[in-house]
């Protein structure tokens, strides 16, 4: 029971904390030249933060739209990798709906609560979906009044969330620590040279370190 409560608490917490960055997205999107409806459509139907920010950023930069979309999709590709693991943890009859919820946050909460992956995933999905979309709408409607989210230190919340969710695995398993270090090294080494999205995808190769031995 308490494992289940833990998963619920983590899910609601992530929804609340990360949902706030929906404000940053709504503001960024409208400032970039997207309409309120377009900003909301992205949060409702793309629902994957990194890709949404990438598209808004590319539009703001005035670049061509085809590479802008390609960049957004590169950032969304890692969600497919989470799906490989989630496929064995979540019920398959809800697959079409479940797929929509596969993002960094929902996956991280699910994996952090092995016995309660289902509870963790759907709680996070529901709470973050609501807060992310509300925040997008609010900020898109009043972009000018929204302060820079970095003032509140919200830019530290994302990495702190993933760190806290990964922590138990890192503490327990030397193998996971190795994989994590490999992932960090690969991603940071690749970041200056490759477009956004690719470094994190490349880091997946860090997982091969354990497999090839």
């Amino acid at each position: 029971m308490s494992a289940r409560n833990d998963a619920v608490r983590a899910g609601l917490g992530v929804g609340l904390a990360v949902g706030f960055s929906g404000l940053a997205f709504g503001a960024a999107a409208v400032t970039a030249g997207l309409s309120v409806a377009q900003a909301c459509a992205l949060s409702l139907f793309a629902f994957t933060g990194a890709s949404q920010f990438a598209l808004a950023g590319a539009v703001a930069g005035g670049g061509a739209l085809v590479p802008a979309v390609a960049g957004a999709l590169l950032l969304g590709a890692r969600n497919g990798l989470y799906g490989l693991r989630l496929a064995t943890l979540l019920p398959s009859r809800l697959r079409a709906l479940t797929a929509h919820g596969i993002i960094d946050e929902t996956s991280a909460v699910a994996f952090a609560h092995p016995g309660e992956a289902k509870t963790g995933f759907y709680t996070t999905f529901a709470s973050l979906y609501v807060t992310w979309n509300l925040a997008t709408l609010l900020a898109a409607l009043g972009a000018s009044q929204v302060a820079d989210p970095t003032v509140f230190g919200l830019d530290a919340v994302g990495p702190a969330t993933f760190l806290a969710l990964l922590w138990p695995r890192l503490k327990e398993s030397a193998e996971d620590r190795k994989v994590a270090v490999a992932g960090v090294v690969i991603a940071l080494a690749a970041t200056p040279f490759l477009p956004a999205g690719i470094p994190v995808l490349l880091a997946a190769a860090g997982a091969l370190v354990v497999l090839v031995r």
């Binding site: 377009q38 890709s51 590709a77 496929a87 697959r95 230190g153 960090v184 690969i186």
Partner: protein, 99 residues
């Protein structure tokens, strides 16, 4: 290309990418090597994400301090939400005080 087309293409593409992993054939998913990979790969992805979100746009002292505070909170076994609040508070306060 109209901006709406870019929005729609992003929405459809992102959904299909999410769906692809989930709908991978059971026969492939059940292979031991694939299972091992699928179990470990989130660790590599999330660790990389932490690094890129923290340092991908250059070193930022308040954000780094916020993450260091989060690590201390984790070492002290602080609850999940406390860890997030500590990270945001330390980062935000250091910024306000002009570090």
């Amino acid at each position: 290309m109209n901006l709406w087309w870019a929005v729609i293409a992003t929405c459809v593409g992102c959904y299909l990418l999410k769906y692809a992993g989930l709908a991978a054939p059971r026969k492939i998913l059940d292979r031991p090597a694939v299972q091992r990979f699928a179990t470990v790969v989130p660790v590599a992805l999330l660790a990389a994400l932490i690094a890129v979100q923290s340092f991908g746009q250059g070193f930022d002292a308040p954000r780094t301090a916020g993450l260091a505070a989060a690590v201390i909170a984790l070492l002290l076994r602080a609850p999940f939400l406390v860890v997030l609040v500590v990270a945001a508070l330390v980062t935000g306060l250091l910024r306000i005080t002009g570090m």
